[in-house]
Amino acid sequence: MNFLIDFFGDPANWSGPDGIPLRFAEHLQYTGLSLLIAALIAVPLGLWIGHTGRGALAVVLSANAARALPTLGLLVLIVLLMGVGSDAPVLIPLVALAVPPILVNTYEGIRGVDPDLRDAAYGMGLRGGQVLGRVLVPVALPLILLGLRTAAIQVVATATVAAYVGLGGLGRYIIDGLATQKYPLTVGGAVLVALLALAVQGLFTLIQRVCVSPGVSGRQKTR
């Protein structure tokens, strides 16, 4: 507890380049940017593969491969290759981390829609794109959002590694704290990351409530 009071109570920790607001903003920026890129890649790909059934095996294989990638190792490798000139070195491993859960859940969500429903949609005269957009996506939305949420939480936690290669974010506190044995710093940083993860969780619960049709979420509840 004292660590936390020391950390959050110190006005020096609330301003300047090493202050909480700035570190927080950096962390959010890495997280948000890599999630956005990952979603732009994985959601359309997952929709397309789930809808057409083409390349399903590739999804499973690449997702497994990507899961096995050591994020930190990848980060160090990229820094060695590219230097630390920009945010790119930290974004690439985070995107690689975020793509598999989004891709797999999107694909599974679309593929898992009741074939009778898909059939009825075509039978009514919807075209392929309309079937996907008006029926499959709304019905698969809970799973798609689950994929995004899983990715987001993993990325929030993992973005701390940026600090290892001299970049910012909340990881700075953890790593600097460890290096200089200022434990309040480490603990404070860890708490901030945990809070951010909780906030992400809350945000997705909210999105789920707003975006998913009661006809879909209600049906799941009664099952």
Binding site: D116, Y122, G123, G125, L126, R134, P138, S213, R219
Partner: protein
């Protein structure tokens, strides 16, 4: 009119689901495809709206080959109802029903008001319009499925075992509802079922298919029951074929006896001596009250109102079938049936002898 012209469907794995099928589904009539599981009913049906394309042969819709129209456009003009209803779970009932009108670009208000009319047409409480499909019973969902198929008023309706997932009582009411709707709407309906009773109840014409997708017989239900083309059809029609056939023979040819009907105001003493075993008692309006046996009447004064009457069965003469008349005879210890008119007034008595003669004539027809 829908015409199958030498249609064959061979699936990529070599299964021949439909083999050289030629038949016509006339405009404004219900044509039922019936047959054992796997005989190609669904495949045949789905070739009409191009959910499946034939390997050979043509399907014509009012003379035009369906393969000349692009599938989504074709399907928007053909109502399609499937077994599991296939409602969109994320949309409210009203929007489910309005699916095709939306696709056709109707404005939202018009589409929704059309949807509300249809809910009423298929016998659903308009209060259900704002619900989601999971909040409805299976029978209600199936009605919504029918409403959705009818929404853009397509001339053709394809129905694939639409009522087979609901319990028998709901199924019977959905069937009655369909017949009522059809009397009003005169759609060209192709209806798939594996239930022969459903087939003869609903069909103007029934096509019996055998496994391998070959047509065994195409006939009106009465003809099918009376003259099955071969052993396969006979077997498929099942055990009670004779009894079921009676459903298609009108009861209005039965001879009536009016002398067996007495008003409830008659004195007991006036009928006690009658030679008949049973007399039918009617109220002042001519409505049936029951049967009395003159020889069992008490030796007392008063009117027939004071005498307990035995149970009775009725059938409507201008409307019901011989089967209903037979049923009515079995509901009464007298063994006679009461023929009533549309408003329930007794027109006369059909004795078991009269019914027996009618049945004998039918049996003789069947032999010759």
């Amino acid at each position: 009119m829908i015409t199958f012209d030498g249609v064959t469907k061979r699936y990529p794995d070599g299964t021949v689901a439909v083999d050289e099928l030629s038949l016509e589904a006339p405009t404004g009539e219900i044509t039922v495809l019936v047959g054992p599981s796997g005989c190609g009913k669904t495949t045949s049906l789905r070739m009409i709206n191009r959910m499946i394309d034939p390997s050979a042969g043509r399907i014509l819709l009012d003379g035009a080959d369906v393969t000349t129209v692009d599938p989504p456009t074709l399907r928007r003009g053909i109502g399609y109802v499937i077994q599991q209803a296939g409602l969109f779970p994320h949309r409210k009932i009203v929007d489910n029903v309005a699916t095709v009108p939306y696709l056709l670009g109707w404005d939202r208000k018009k589409a929704r008001s059309r949807a509300m009319d249809l809910l009423e047409l298929v016998g659903l409480d308009p209060g259900l319009a704002g619900r989601y499909p999971f909040q409805l019973s299976g029978g209600q969902q199936q009605r919504v499925g029918v409403a959705r198929a009818l929404a853009a008023d397509p001339p053709v309706l394809l129905m694939d075992e639409p009522f087979s997932a609901v319990d028998p009582i709901v199924r019977a009411s959905l069937q009655d509802e369909l017949l009522r709707l059809q009397a009003e709407l005169n759609k060209t309906i192709v209806f798939v079922t594996h239930d022969i009773d459903e087939a003869v109840k609903l069909g103007d014409r029934v096509a019996v298919l055998r496994v391998g997708g070959r047509l065994a017989q195409l006939a009106a239900p009465a003809e099918l029951l009376a003259e099955p083309a071969d052993d396969f059809v006979r077997e498929f029609l099942g055990r009670d074929r004779g009894i079921r056939r009676l459903s298609f023979i009108p009861a209005d040819g039965l001879s009536l006896r009016t002398d067996l009907v007495v008003p409830v105001s008659a004195d007991v003493s006036s009928v006690r001596g009658t030679a008949e075993a049973w007399l039918a008692v009617v109220d002042a309006e001519g409505g049936p009250l029951g049967w009395i046996a003159p020889k069992d009447l008490p030796d007392s004064g008063g009117t027939l109102a004071e005498v307990p009457a035995a149970p009775y069965g009725t059938f409507v003469r201008g409307r019901d079938s011989l089967r209903a008349a037979l049923d009515a005879t079995l509901l009464s210890p007298s063994g006679n049936a009461l023929a009533v008119d549309g408003s329930g007034r007794v027109e006369g008595v059909v004795t078991r002898e009269a019914l027996g003669e009618a049945l004998t004539r039918i049996a003789e027809d069947a032999r010759g």
